[in-house]
Protein backbone atom coordinates (compact mmCIF):
# COMPACT_ATOMS: atom_id res chain seq x y z
CA UNK A 1 0.00 0.00 0.00
CA UNK A 2 1.61 3.20 -1.15
CA UNK A 3 1.70 5.98 1.42
CA UNK A 4 1.65 8.70 -1.19
CA UNK A 5 -1.44 7.94 -3.21
CA UNK A 6 -2.40 10.64 -5.69
CA UNK A 7 -5.58 12.50 -5.00
CA UNK A 8 -6.94 11.51 -8.41
CA UNK A 9 -6.54 7.80 -7.75
CA UNK A 10 -7.93 8.25 -4.24
CA UNK A 11 -11.06 9.85 -5.67
CA UNK A 12 -11.36 7.30 -8.46
CA UNK A 13 -11.23 4.58 -5.78
CA UNK A 14 -14.19 6.14 -3.99
CA UNK A 15 -12.35 8.34 -1.49
CA UNK A 16 -13.98 11.42 -0.06
CA UNK A 17 -12.70 14.94 0.47
CA UNK A 18 -13.57 16.81 3.61
CA UNK A 19 -12.54 20.44 3.51
CA UNK A 20 -11.61 23.19 1.07
CA UNK A 21 -7.87 22.85 1.65
CA UNK A 22 -7.67 19.29 0.41
CA UNK A 23 -9.75 19.88 -2.70
CA UNK A 24 -7.76 20.07 -5.96
CA UNK A 25 -8.43 23.01 -8.33
CA UNK A 26 -10.42 21.26 -11.07
CA UNK A 27 -12.51 19.47 -8.49
CA UNK A 28 -13.16 22.71 -6.74
CA UNK A 29 -14.43 24.35 -9.92
CA UNK A 30 -16.88 21.53 -10.64
CA UNK A 31 -17.99 21.39 -7.02
CA UNK A 32 -18.56 25.15 -6.92
CA UNK A 33 -20.63 24.93 -10.10
CA UNK A 34 -22.68 22.06 -8.72
CA UNK A 35 -23.33 23.97 -5.52
CA UNK A 36 -24.14 27.20 -7.34
CA UNK A 37 -26.62 25.33 -9.54
CA UNK A 38 -28.40 23.96 -6.50
CA UNK A 39 -28.39 27.23 -4.57
CA UNK A 40 -29.58 29.30 -7.53
CA UNK A 41 -32.31 26.78 -8.37
CA UNK A 42 -33.56 26.71 -4.78
CA UNK A 43 -33.52 30.49 -4.46
CA UNK A 44 -35.27 30.90 -7.81
CA UNK A 45 -37.75 28.15 -6.95
CA UNK A 46 -38.51 29.71 -3.57
CA UNK A 47 -38.93 33.12 -5.18
CA UNK A 48 -41.36 31.67 -7.72
CA UNK A 49 -43.44 30.10 -4.97
CA UNK A 50 -43.38 33.22 -2.84
CA UNK A 51 -45.35 34.96 -5.57
CA UNK A 52 -48.15 32.40 -5.51
CA UNK A 53 -48.65 32.00 -1.74
CA UNK A 54 -51.64 34.32 -1.80
CA UNK A 55 -53.21 32.49 -4.71
CA UNK A 56 -53.67 29.45 -2.48
CA UNK A 57 -57.40 28.69 -2.23
CA UNK A 58 -57.38 28.37 1.58
CA UNK A 59 -55.30 28.96 4.68
CA UNK A 60 -53.83 25.43 4.72
CA UNK A 61 -52.71 25.75 1.13
CA UNK A 62 -51.10 29.11 1.85
CA UNK A 63 -49.31 27.66 4.85
CA UNK A 64 -48.02 24.79 2.68
CA UNK A 65 -46.79 27.20 0.00
CA UNK A 66 -45.17 29.49 2.58
CA UNK A 67 -43.51 26.51 4.18
CA UNK A 68 -42.09 25.43 0.82
CA UNK A 69 -40.68 28.93 0.34
CA UNK A 70 -39.12 28.88 3.80
CA UNK A 71 -37.64 25.42 3.48
CA UNK A 72 -36.26 25.89 -0.02
CA UNK A 73 -34.56 29.07 1.14
CA UNK A 74 -33.25 27.21 4.16
CA UNK A 75 -31.90 24.43 1.91
CA UNK A 76 -30.20 27.02 -0.29
CA UNK A 77 -28.58 28.40 2.85
CA UNK A 78 -27.20 25.00 3.86
CA UNK A 79 -25.33 24.68 0.58
CA UNK A 80 -24.41 28.35 0.34
CA UNK A 81 -22.74 27.99 3.73
CA UNK A 82 -20.46 25.35 2.23
CA UNK A 83 -19.71 27.66 -0.72
CA UNK A 84 -18.79 30.24 1.89
CA UNK A 85 -16.12 27.91 3.21
CA UNK A 86 -14.61 28.09 -0.26
CA UNK A 87 -14.47 31.86 -0.12
CA UNK A 88 -17.81 32.78 -1.62
CA UNK A 89 -19.34 35.91 -0.15
CA UNK A 90 -22.59 34.37 1.10
CA UNK A 91 -24.23 37.64 2.11
CA UNK A 92 -23.70 39.15 -1.28
CA UNK A 93 -24.54 35.91 -3.03
CA UNK A 94 -28.04 35.61 -1.64
CA UNK A 95 -29.07 39.12 -2.62
CA UNK A 96 -27.00 39.92 -5.67
CA UNK A 97 -29.62 38.71 -8.06
CA UNK A 98 -33.37 39.15 -8.66
CA UNK A 99 -34.44 35.55 -8.09
CA UNK A 100 -38.04 36.24 -9.02
CA UNK A 101 -37.07 37.26 -12.58
CA UNK A 102 -38.67 34.99 -15.15
CA UNK A 103 -38.72 34.77 -18.93
CA UNK A 104 -41.82 34.69 -21.08
CA UNK A 105 -44.01 31.62 -20.61
CA UNK A 106 -43.40 30.66 -24.24
CA UNK A 107 -39.70 31.38 -24.39
CA UNK A 108 -37.89 28.36 -25.74
CA UNK A 109 -34.50 28.09 -24.09
CA UNK A 110 -34.08 24.32 -23.95
CA UNK A 111 -31.54 23.49 -21.27
CA UNK A 112 -29.54 26.72 -21.52
CA UNK A 113 -29.01 28.81 -18.42
CA UNK A 114 -29.69 32.49 -18.17
CA UNK A 115 -26.71 34.80 -18.39
CA UNK A 116 -26.91 35.85 -14.81
CA UNK A 117 -27.17 32.77 -12.66
CA UNK A 118 -26.77 29.02 -12.55
CA UNK A 119 -30.41 28.08 -11.93
CA UNK A 120 -31.67 25.14 -13.95
CA UNK A 121 -33.39 26.31 -17.11
CA UNK A 122 -36.79 25.17 -15.84
CA UNK A 123 -36.71 27.83 -13.12
CA UNK A 124 -36.69 30.57 -15.73
CA UNK A 125 -40.31 29.91 -16.69
CA UNK A 126 -43.13 31.73 -14.94
CA UNK A 127 -45.87 29.99 -12.95
CA UNK A 128 -49.34 31.07 -14.07
CA UNK A 129 -51.52 30.21 -11.11
CA UNK A 130 -52.20 27.92 -8.19
CA UNK A 131 -52.86 24.70 -10.12
CA UNK A 132 -49.88 25.39 -12.35
CA UNK A 133 -47.67 25.85 -9.28
CA UNK A 134 -48.90 22.57 -7.82
CA UNK A 135 -48.03 20.64 -10.99
CA UNK A 136 -44.69 22.36 -11.41
CA UNK A 137 -43.86 21.46 -7.79
CA UNK A 138 -45.09 17.90 -8.25
CA UNK A 139 -42.97 17.22 -11.32
CA UNK A 140 -39.91 19.14 -10.17
CA UNK A 141 -39.91 17.54 -6.71
CA UNK A 142 -39.69 14.18 -8.39
CA UNK A 143 -36.74 15.36 -10.45
CA UNK A 144 -35.07 16.85 -7.39
CA UNK A 145 -35.51 13.53 -5.56
CA UNK A 146 -33.52 11.76 -8.27
CA UNK A 147 -30.82 14.44 -8.28
CA UNK A 148 -30.52 14.41 -4.50
CA UNK A 149 -30.29 10.61 -4.33
CA UNK A 150 -27.36 11.00 -6.69
CA UNK A 151 -25.77 13.94 -4.88
CA UNK A 152 -26.12 12.33 -1.45
CA UNK A 153 -23.25 10.04 -2.41
CA UNK A 154 -20.86 12.59 -3.90
CA UNK A 155 -17.29 12.65 -2.78
CA UNK A 156 -17.31 16.01 -0.96
CA UNK A 157 -18.44 14.82 2.46
CA UNK A 158 -19.84 18.08 3.90
CA UNK A 159 -22.00 18.53 0.80
CA UNK A 160 -23.12 14.89 0.71
CA UNK A 161 -24.21 15.31 4.35
CA UNK A 162 -26.07 18.52 3.54
CA UNK A 163 -27.89 16.78 0.69
CA UNK A 164 -28.80 13.86 2.94
CA UNK A 165 -30.43 16.37 5.30
CA UNK A 166 -32.13 18.18 2.44
CA UNK A 167 -33.52 15.14 0.59
CA UNK A 168 -36.41 14.27 2.96
CA UNK A 169 -37.42 17.94 3.18
CA UNK A 170 -37.66 18.24 -0.60
CA UNK A 171 -39.44 14.88 -0.76
CA UNK A 172 -42.08 16.29 1.58
CA UNK A 173 -42.65 19.21 -0.83
CA UNK A 174 -43.46 16.60 -3.46
CA UNK A 175 -45.92 14.90 -1.09
CA UNK A 176 -47.66 18.23 -0.45
CA UNK A 177 -47.96 18.70 -4.20
CA UNK A 178 -49.46 15.24 -4.74
CA UNK A 179 -52.03 15.84 -1.95
CA UNK A 180 -53.01 19.19 -3.40
CA UNK A 181 -53.18 17.85 -6.97
CA UNK A 182 -55.49 15.06 -5.79
CA UNK A 183 -57.75 17.65 -4.19
CA UNK A 184 -57.84 19.78 -7.33
CA UNK A 185 -58.53 16.71 -9.48
CA UNK A 186 -61.47 15.81 -7.21
CA UNK A 187 -62.80 19.33 -7.63
CA UNK A 188 -62.88 18.80 -11.39
CA UNK A 189 -59.76 20.77 -12.36
CA UNK A 190 -58.34 17.87 -14.37
CA UNK A 191 -58.19 19.68 -17.70
CA UNK A 192 -56.24 22.57 -16.21
CA UNK A 193 -53.91 20.19 -14.39
CA UNK A 194 -53.28 18.23 -17.57
CA UNK A 195 -52.49 21.45 -19.46
CA UNK A 196 -49.87 22.25 -16.80
CA UNK A 197 -48.45 18.73 -16.99
CA UNK A 198 -48.11 19.14 -20.76
CA UNK A 199 -46.36 22.47 -20.25
CA UNK A 200 -43.94 21.48 -17.45
CA UNK A 201 -43.10 17.89 -18.41
CA UNK A 202 -40.63 18.65 -21.25
CA UNK A 203 -39.12 21.54 -19.29
CA UNK A 204 -38.47 19.45 -16.20
CA UNK A 205 -37.16 16.64 -18.41
CA UNK A 206 -34.68 19.07 -19.97
CA UNK A 207 -33.27 19.88 -16.53
CA UNK A 208 -31.47 16.53 -16.43
CA UNK A 209 -29.18 17.74 -19.18
CA UNK A 210 -27.75 15.75 -22.00
CA UNK A 211 -25.09 13.14 -21.67
CA UNK A 212 -21.72 14.44 -22.72
CA UNK A 213 -19.69 11.30 -22.20
CA UNK A 214 -16.31 12.94 -21.67
CA UNK A 215 -17.67 15.43 -19.19
CA UNK A 216 -19.60 12.75 -17.33
CA UNK A 217 -16.56 10.50 -17.19
CA UNK A 218 -14.45 13.32 -15.76
CA UNK A 219 -17.07 14.02 -13.10
CA UNK A 220 -17.44 10.33 -12.34
CA UNK A 221 -13.70 10.01 -11.72
CA UNK A 222 -13.92 12.89 -9.28
CA UNK A 223 -16.75 11.15 -7.45
CA UNK A 224 -19.14 13.96 -8.33
CA UNK A 225 -21.39 11.84 -10.54
CA UNK A 226 -22.43 8.22 -10.83
CA UNK A 227 -25.46 8.05 -13.11
CA UNK A 228 -25.76 10.07 -16.32
CA UNK A 229 -28.44 12.71 -16.89
CA UNK A 230 -30.44 10.43 -19.21
CA UNK A 231 -30.30 7.61 -16.64
CA UNK A 232 -31.67 9.90 -13.94
CA UNK A 233 -34.27 11.22 -16.36
CA UNK A 234 -35.63 7.77 -17.16
CA UNK A 235 -35.98 7.01 -13.43
CA UNK A 236 -37.88 10.24 -12.99
CA UNK A 237 -40.08 9.56 -16.01
CA UNK A 238 -41.09 6.15 -14.65
CA UNK A 239 -41.91 7.47 -11.17
CA UNK A 240 -43.65 10.62 -12.37
CA UNK A 241 -45.74 8.69 -14.89
CA UNK A 242 -46.97 6.39 -12.11
CA UNK A 243 -47.82 9.35 -9.87
CA UNK A 244 -49.72 11.13 -12.64
CA UNK A 245 -51.54 7.94 -13.45
CA UNK A 246 -52.88 7.73 -9.89
CA UNK A 247 -54.19 11.28 -10.26
CA UNK A 248 -55.97 10.47 -13.53
CA UNK A 249 -53.42 12.50 -15.47
CA UNK A 250 -51.17 11.39 -18.28
CA UNK A 251 -47.51 11.99 -19.07
CA UNK A 252 -47.21 13.54 -22.54
Amino acid sequence: MAEDMTLDSYLAAGGVLTNPTNVPPRYRAELMKLMATFVDSELAGAAGFADIINQGPGIKERIAAARIVLEKTDNADRVLTIMGEFGADTQRYATHHPWTARLDRNADIGATRSEHDMRLAVFNYPITGWADAVIMNLLMSGAVAEQLAEFSTISYQPLAEAFRTIAPIEAHHGELAVEEAAKLAEEGETAQLQASVDYWWPRVAASFGSSRTEKHEALRKLGLRRLTGPELKSRWQANATATLDQLGLAAP
Binding site: M1, V16, T18, P20, N22, P25, M32
Partner: protein, 357 residues
Protein backbone atom coordinates in the same frame (compact mmCIF):
# COMPACT_ATOMS: atom_id res chain seq x y z
CA UNK B 1 -17.28 35.66 3.92
CA UNK B 2 -14.95 34.14 6.45
CA UNK B 3 -12.37 36.58 7.79
CA UNK B 4 -9.07 36.10 9.55
CA UNK B 5 -8.80 36.89 13.24
CA UNK B 6 -5.91 37.18 15.68
CA UNK B 7 -4.93 34.29 17.95
CA UNK B 8 -2.17 34.67 20.51
CA UNK B 9 0.05 31.67 21.19
CA UNK B 10 -0.04 31.12 24.96
CA UNK B 11 1.72 27.76 25.11
CA UNK B 12 3.79 25.51 22.86
CA UNK B 13 4.10 21.92 23.94
CA UNK B 14 6.18 19.33 22.11
CA UNK B 15 4.15 16.13 22.12
CA UNK B 16 6.74 14.14 20.15
CA UNK B 17 10.03 15.14 18.58
CA UNK B 18 8.51 16.65 15.45
CA UNK B 19 5.06 17.76 16.50
CA UNK B 20 3.81 20.66 18.61
CA UNK B 21 0.56 21.40 20.34
CA UNK B 22 -0.25 25.10 20.25
CA UNK B 23 -2.55 26.67 22.81
CA UNK B 24 -4.22 29.72 21.32
CA UNK B 25 -6.14 32.59 22.80
CA UNK B 26 -8.37 34.73 20.58
CA UNK B 27 -7.39 38.37 21.03
CA UNK B 28 -8.54 41.76 19.71
CA UNK B 29 -12.22 40.86 19.99
CA UNK B 30 -11.92 37.53 18.20
CA UNK B 31 -13.24 35.35 21.04
CA UNK B 32 -16.82 35.21 19.75
CA UNK B 33 -15.63 33.71 16.46
CA UNK B 34 -13.86 30.73 17.98
CA UNK B 35 -16.65 28.71 19.55
CA UNK B 36 -15.97 25.33 17.97
CA UNK B 37 -17.53 21.92 17.50
CA UNK B 38 -15.35 18.93 18.33
CA UNK B 39 -13.60 17.71 15.17
CA UNK B 40 -13.41 21.11 13.43
CA UNK B 41 -10.27 22.69 12.02
CA UNK B 42 -8.72 26.14 11.79
CA UNK B 43 -7.27 27.62 8.61
CA UNK B 44 -4.18 29.71 9.31
CA UNK B 45 -2.32 32.10 7.11
CA UNK B 46 1.26 33.20 7.35
CA UNK B 47 3.52 35.26 5.17
CA UNK B 48 6.74 33.59 4.02
CA UNK B 49 9.04 36.13 2.37
CA UNK B 50 6.15 37.89 0.75
CA UNK B 51 4.16 34.83 -0.16
CA UNK B 52 1.11 33.95 1.85
CA UNK B 53 0.49 30.30 2.67
CA UNK B 54 -2.76 28.99 4.08
CA UNK B 55 -2.89 25.71 6.00
CA UNK B 56 -5.58 23.94 7.98
CA UNK B 57 -5.01 22.10 11.25
CA UNK B 58 -7.54 20.29 13.39
CA UNK B 59 -8.45 21.37 16.87
CA UNK B 60 -7.34 18.65 19.30
CA UNK B 61 -8.90 20.00 22.49
CA UNK B 62 -12.27 18.81 23.71
CA UNK B 63 -15.21 21.15 24.25
CA UNK B 64 -14.81 21.02 28.03
CA UNK B 65 -11.04 21.50 28.18
CA UNK B 66 -11.48 25.26 28.27
CA UNK B 67 -8.71 25.89 25.74
CA UNK B 68 -8.26 26.17 22.00
CA UNK B 69 -5.47 23.86 20.87
CA UNK B 70 -4.24 22.57 17.54
CA UNK B 71 -1.63 19.92 16.86
CA UNK B 72 0.88 20.51 14.05
CA UNK B 73 3.19 17.77 12.88
CA UNK B 74 6.22 18.70 10.83
CA UNK B 75 5.80 17.58 7.23
CA UNK B 76 8.99 17.15 5.26
CA UNK B 77 9.38 20.18 3.01
CA UNK B 78 6.29 21.78 4.50
CA UNK B 79 6.94 25.46 5.05
CA UNK B 80 4.11 26.12 7.46
CA UNK B 81 4.55 23.06 9.67
CA UNK B 82 8.32 23.60 9.86
CA UNK B 83 7.81 27.20 10.84
CA UNK B 84 5.28 26.25 13.52
CA UNK B 85 7.64 23.61 14.90
CA UNK B 86 10.86 25.65 14.83
CA UNK B 87 10.25 29.38 14.78
CA UNK B 88 6.96 30.06 16.47
CA UNK B 89 7.25 31.49 19.98
CA UNK B 90 4.92 31.89 22.93
CA UNK B 91 3.44 35.39 22.68
CA UNK B 92 3.37 35.44 18.87
CA UNK B 93 0.08 36.31 17.21
CA UNK B 94 -1.20 34.05 14.42
CA UNK B 95 -4.11 34.62 12.10
CA UNK B 96 -6.84 32.08 11.51
CA UNK B 97 -10.35 31.85 10.12
CA UNK B 98 -13.18 30.72 12.43
CA UNK B 99 -13.49 26.94 12.98
CA UNK B 100 -14.94 25.00 10.04
CA UNK B 101 -15.74 21.43 9.16
CA UNK B 102 -18.42 18.88 9.86
CA UNK B 103 -16.40 15.95 11.19
CA UNK B 104 -18.70 15.21 14.10
CA UNK B 105 -22.07 13.85 15.17
CA UNK B 106 -24.68 15.46 17.34
CA UNK B 107 -23.94 15.09 21.07
CA UNK B 108 -26.80 13.72 23.16
CA UNK B 109 -26.24 13.50 26.92
CA UNK B 110 -28.67 10.57 27.24
CA UNK B 111 -27.24 8.58 24.34
CA UNK B 112 -25.72 5.19 24.91
CA UNK B 113 -23.62 4.88 21.79
CA UNK B 114 -20.61 2.95 20.61
CA UNK B 115 -18.13 5.06 18.71
CA UNK B 116 -15.22 3.78 16.70
CA UNK B 117 -12.35 6.08 15.75
CA UNK B 118 -9.46 5.43 13.37
CA UNK B 119 -6.50 7.77 13.30
CA UNK B 120 -3.26 7.62 11.35
CA UNK B 121 -0.36 9.68 12.73
CA UNK B 122 -1.31 13.34 13.15
CA UNK B 123 -4.82 12.36 12.05
CA UNK B 124 -5.32 11.85 15.77
CA UNK B 125 -5.97 15.57 16.37
CA UNK B 126 -9.66 15.84 15.36
CA UNK B 127 -10.40 12.32 16.64
CA UNK B 128 -8.94 13.27 20.02
CA UNK B 129 -11.19 16.33 20.17
CA UNK B 130 -14.20 14.17 19.38
CA UNK B 131 -13.40 11.43 21.86
CA UNK B 132 -12.64 13.90 24.64
CA UNK B 133 -15.93 15.68 24.02
CA UNK B 134 -18.15 12.61 23.64
CA UNK B 135 -16.72 10.83 26.68
CA UNK B 136 -17.28 13.96 28.77
CA UNK B 137 -20.72 14.82 27.45
CA UNK B 138 -22.25 11.40 26.80
CA UNK B 139 -21.61 9.57 30.10
CA UNK B 140 -23.11 6.33 28.83
CA UNK B 141 -21.28 6.16 25.50
CA UNK B 142 -18.12 4.21 24.77
CA UNK B 143 -15.28 4.92 22.40
CA UNK B 144 -12.79 2.58 20.76
CA UNK B 145 -9.77 4.18 19.10
CA UNK B 146 -7.59 2.37 16.57
CA UNK B 147 -4.46 4.47 16.32
CA UNK B 148 -1.87 3.78 13.62
CA UNK B 149 1.71 5.04 13.85
CA UNK B 150 5.16 4.23 12.49
CA UNK B 151 6.63 3.37 15.87
CA UNK B 152 6.21 3.91 19.56
CA UNK B 153 8.14 7.19 19.60
CA UNK B 154 5.98 8.83 16.92
CA UNK B 155 2.71 8.41 18.82
CA UNK B 156 1.28 11.89 19.41
CA UNK B 157 -0.68 12.32 22.67
CA UNK B 158 0.32 8.88 23.97
CA UNK B 159 0.34 10.00 27.61
CA UNK B 160 -2.83 12.02 27.23
CA UNK B 161 -4.60 8.93 25.90
CA UNK B 162 -3.38 6.89 28.86
CA UNK B 163 -4.72 9.55 31.22
CA UNK B 164 -8.07 9.54 29.43
CA UNK B 165 -8.25 5.75 29.70
CA UNK B 166 -7.83 6.05 33.47
CA UNK B 167 -10.29 8.91 33.70
CA UNK B 168 -12.98 7.10 31.71
CA UNK B 169 -12.30 3.64 33.08
CA UNK B 170 -13.87 1.00 30.88
CA UNK B 171 -15.37 3.48 28.41
CA UNK B 172 -12.28 4.20 26.33
CA UNK B 173 -10.37 1.46 24.58
CA UNK B 174 -7.21 2.28 22.60
CA UNK B 175 -5.62 -0.14 20.15
CA UNK B 176 -2.20 0.95 18.93
CA UNK B 177 -1.18 -0.42 15.54
CA UNK B 178 2.52 0.12 14.85
CA UNK B 179 3.99 -0.18 11.40
CA UNK B 180 7.60 -0.83 12.39
CA UNK B 181 7.75 -1.80 16.06
CA UNK B 182 6.83 -5.37 16.92
CA UNK B 183 4.16 -5.84 19.57
CA UNK B 184 3.08 -8.77 21.71
CA UNK B 185 0.12 -9.44 19.47
CA UNK B 186 1.03 -9.84 15.79
CA UNK B 187 -2.25 -8.35 14.68
CA UNK B 188 -1.19 -5.00 16.14
CA UNK B 189 1.83 -4.69 13.87
CA UNK B 190 1.74 -3.42 10.28
CA UNK B 191 -0.56 -1.07 8.40
CA UNK B 192 -4.26 -0.57 9.00
CA UNK B 193 -5.69 -2.12 5.85
CA UNK B 194 -9.07 -3.50 4.93
CA UNK B 195 -7.88 -6.99 5.92
CA UNK B 196 -6.48 -5.78 9.21
CA UNK B 197 -9.81 -4.15 10.03
CA UNK B 198 -11.70 -7.33 9.19
CA UNK B 199 -9.44 -9.20 11.62
CA UNK B 200 -9.93 -6.57 14.32
CA UNK B 201 -13.70 -6.85 13.86
CA UNK B 202 -13.52 -10.59 14.60
CA UNK B 203 -12.31 -10.47 18.18
CA UNK B 204 -11.32 -6.99 19.22
CA UNK B 205 -14.07 -4.65 18.08
CA UNK B 206 -17.80 -5.22 18.40
CA UNK B 207 -18.51 -3.88 14.92
CA UNK B 208 -22.17 -4.89 14.90
CA UNK B 209 -23.00 -2.41 17.64
CA UNK B 210 -20.99 0.53 16.34
CA UNK B 211 -23.19 3.58 15.77
CA UNK B 212 -20.71 5.94 14.17
CA UNK B 213 -17.14 5.61 12.91
CA UNK B 214 -14.65 8.46 12.50
CA UNK B 215 -11.64 8.11 10.22
CA UNK B 216 -8.76 10.56 9.84
CA UNK B 217 -5.53 9.56 8.18
CA UNK B 218 -3.79 9.23 4.83
CA UNK B 219 -5.84 8.37 1.75
CA UNK B 220 -5.12 4.64 1.30
CA UNK B 221 -5.77 3.97 4.97
CA UNK B 222 -9.12 5.78 4.83
CA UNK B 223 -10.18 3.82 1.75
CA UNK B 224 -9.29 0.47 3.31
CA UNK B 225 -11.06 1.22 6.58
CA UNK B 226 -14.16 2.59 4.84
CA UNK B 227 -14.37 -0.50 2.64
CA UNK B 228 -14.13 -2.76 5.70
CA UNK B 229 -16.78 -0.76 7.56
CA UNK B 230 -19.18 -0.91 4.61
CA UNK B 231 -18.53 -4.61 4.27
CA UNK B 232 -19.61 -4.97 7.89
CA UNK B 233 -22.87 -3.16 7.43
CA UNK B 234 -22.20 0.53 8.16
CA UNK B 235 -23.75 2.98 5.69
CA UNK B 236 -22.31 6.26 4.44
CA UNK B 237 -24.13 8.37 7.01
CA UNK B 238 -22.42 6.41 9.81
CA UNK B 239 -18.90 6.89 8.45
CA UNK B 240 -17.30 10.29 8.99
CA UNK B 241 -14.09 11.16 7.22
CA UNK B 242 -11.49 13.84 7.67
CA UNK B 243 -8.73 13.89 5.13
CA UNK B 244 -5.76 15.68 6.59
CA UNK B 245 -2.72 17.55 5.50
CA UNK B 246 -1.08 15.16 3.04
CA UNK B 247 -2.92 16.88 0.20
CA UNK B 248 -1.50 20.27 1.09
CA UNK B 249 2.01 20.47 -0.31
CA UNK B 250 2.76 23.87 1.16
CA UNK B 251 6.14 24.47 -0.35
CA UNK B 252 7.15 28.01 -0.96
CA UNK B 253 7.44 28.96 -4.58
CA UNK B 254 10.99 29.57 -5.61
CA UNK B 255 11.53 33.27 -6.07
CA UNK B 256 12.82 34.37 -9.42
CA UNK B 257 15.56 36.98 -9.25
CA UNK B 258 14.35 40.30 -7.93
CA UNK B 259 12.19 42.18 -10.38
CA UNK B 260 13.95 42.42 -13.70
CA UNK B 261 15.26 45.87 -14.39
CA UNK B 262 14.27 45.34 -18.00
CA UNK B 263 10.60 45.40 -17.11
CA UNK B 264 10.85 48.97 -15.95
CA UNK B 265 9.87 50.23 -19.35
CA UNK B 266 7.10 47.71 -19.27
CA UNK B 267 4.86 49.11 -16.57
CA UNK B 268 1.15 49.50 -16.14
CA UNK B 269 -0.86 51.79 -13.92
CA UNK B 270 -3.71 49.79 -12.42
CA UNK B 271 -6.62 51.37 -10.63
CA UNK B 272 -8.05 48.65 -8.36
CA UNK B 273 -11.28 48.91 -6.42
CA UNK B 274 -11.97 46.57 -3.51
CA UNK B 275 -14.54 46.84 -0.72
CA UNK B 276 -15.47 50.31 -1.92
CA UNK B 277 -12.01 51.86 -1.87
CA UNK B 278 -9.70 52.42 -4.80
CA UNK B 279 -5.93 52.30 -5.05
CA UNK B 280 -3.74 53.11 -8.00
CA UNK B 281 -0.80 50.77 -8.29
CA UNK B 282 2.12 50.65 -10.70
CA UNK B 283 3.01 47.11 -11.63
CA UNK B 284 5.17 45.34 -14.20
CA UNK B 285 3.29 43.67 -17.01
CA UNK B 286 4.51 40.27 -15.88
CA UNK B 287 2.74 40.55 -12.54
CA UNK B 288 -0.86 39.44 -12.14
CA UNK B 289 -3.54 41.85 -10.99
CA UNK B 290 -4.09 39.71 -7.89
CA UNK B 291 -0.42 39.71 -6.91
CA UNK B 292 -0.25 43.45 -7.39
CA UNK B 293 -3.26 43.98 -5.17
CA UNK B 294 -1.90 41.66 -2.47
CA UNK B 295 1.53 43.28 -2.64
CA UNK B 296 -0.12 46.59 -1.92
CA UNK B 297 -1.87 45.35 1.19
CA UNK B 298 -5.25 45.08 -0.45
CA UNK B 299 -7.24 42.17 0.99
CA UNK B 300 -8.14 40.85 -2.45
CA UNK B 301 -10.03 37.57 -2.43
CA UNK B 302 -8.25 34.49 -3.70
CA UNK B 303 -7.98 30.81 -3.01
CA UNK B 304 -6.59 28.46 -5.61
CA UNK B 305 -4.46 30.93 -7.58
CA UNK B 306 -4.86 28.46 -10.42
CA UNK B 307 -7.60 30.12 -12.38
CA UNK B 308 -10.18 27.63 -11.21
CA UNK B 309 -12.14 28.49 -8.14
CA UNK B 310 -13.32 31.91 -9.32
CA UNK B 311 -12.96 33.37 -5.87
CA UNK B 312 -10.60 36.03 -7.27
CA UNK B 313 -12.96 37.17 -9.99
CA UNK B 314 -12.95 40.87 -10.79
CA UNK B 315 -14.22 43.03 -13.63
CA UNK B 316 -12.07 45.00 -16.04
CA UNK B 317 -13.72 48.37 -16.66
CA UNK B 318 -10.99 50.01 -18.74
CA UNK B 319 -7.92 48.78 -20.57
CA UNK B 320 -7.06 45.23 -21.39
CA UNK B 321 -5.64 42.25 -19.53
CA UNK B 322 -4.74 38.78 -20.68
CA UNK B 323 -5.72 35.64 -18.80
CA UNK B 324 -3.13 32.88 -18.85
CA UNK B 325 -5.60 30.22 -17.78
CA UNK B 326 -9.32 30.15 -17.20
CA UNK B 327 -11.05 27.04 -15.98
CA UNK B 328 -13.88 28.71 -14.14
CA UNK B 329 -15.39 31.65 -15.98
CA UNK B 330 -17.95 30.99 -18.70
CA UNK B 331 -17.73 32.74 -22.05
CA UNK B 332 -20.53 35.15 -21.20
CA UNK B 333 -18.72 36.30 -18.09
CA UNK B 334 -15.53 36.91 -20.03
CA UNK B 335 -17.51 38.90 -22.62
CA UNK B 336 -18.74 41.12 -19.82
CA UNK B 337 -15.16 41.84 -18.78
CA UNK B 338 -14.87 39.46 -15.86
CA UNK B 339 -11.44 37.99 -15.32
CA UNK B 340 -9.75 35.74 -12.82
CA UNK B 341 -7.36 38.23 -11.28
CA UNK B 342 -4.82 35.55 -10.34
CA UNK B 343 -4.44 34.77 -14.04
CA UNK B 344 -4.81 38.28 -15.42
CA UNK B 345 -1.76 40.23 -16.66
CA UNK B 346 -2.02 43.80 -17.93
CA UNK B 347 -1.62 44.41 -21.64
CA UNK B 348 -2.37 48.15 -21.87
CA UNK B 349 -0.48 50.86 -19.97
CA UNK B 350 -3.54 51.64 -17.90
CA UNK B 351 -6.21 49.31 -16.55
CA UNK B 352 -9.17 49.84 -14.24
CA UNK B 353 -10.48 46.80 -12.38
CA UNK B 354 -13.19 46.33 -9.78
CA UNK B 355 -13.59 43.44 -7.32
CA UNK B 356 -16.93 44.77 -6.11
CA UNK B 357 -18.90 44.14 -9.30
Amino acid sequence: MARFHDLKVTDIHKTIRDAVVLTLEPVNGAAEHFEFTAGQYLTFRHDFDGEELRRSYSICAGKDDGVLQVGIKRVEGGAFSSWANSDLQVGDVMQAMPPMGSFHTQIDANAERQYLGFAGGSGITPVLSILRTTLAREPKSRFTLVYANKGINTIMFREELEDLKNLYMGRLNVIHILEADAQEIDLFTGLVTQDKCAQLFQHWIDIENVDTAFICGPEPMMLGIAAALREHGLDDSQIKFELFASAQPGRIRRKTGAADAATQANQTKAQITLDGSTQTITLPKDQSILEAALDNAMDAPFACKAGVCSTCRCRVLEGEVEMVANHALEDYEVEKGYVLSCQAYPVTDRVVVDYDQ
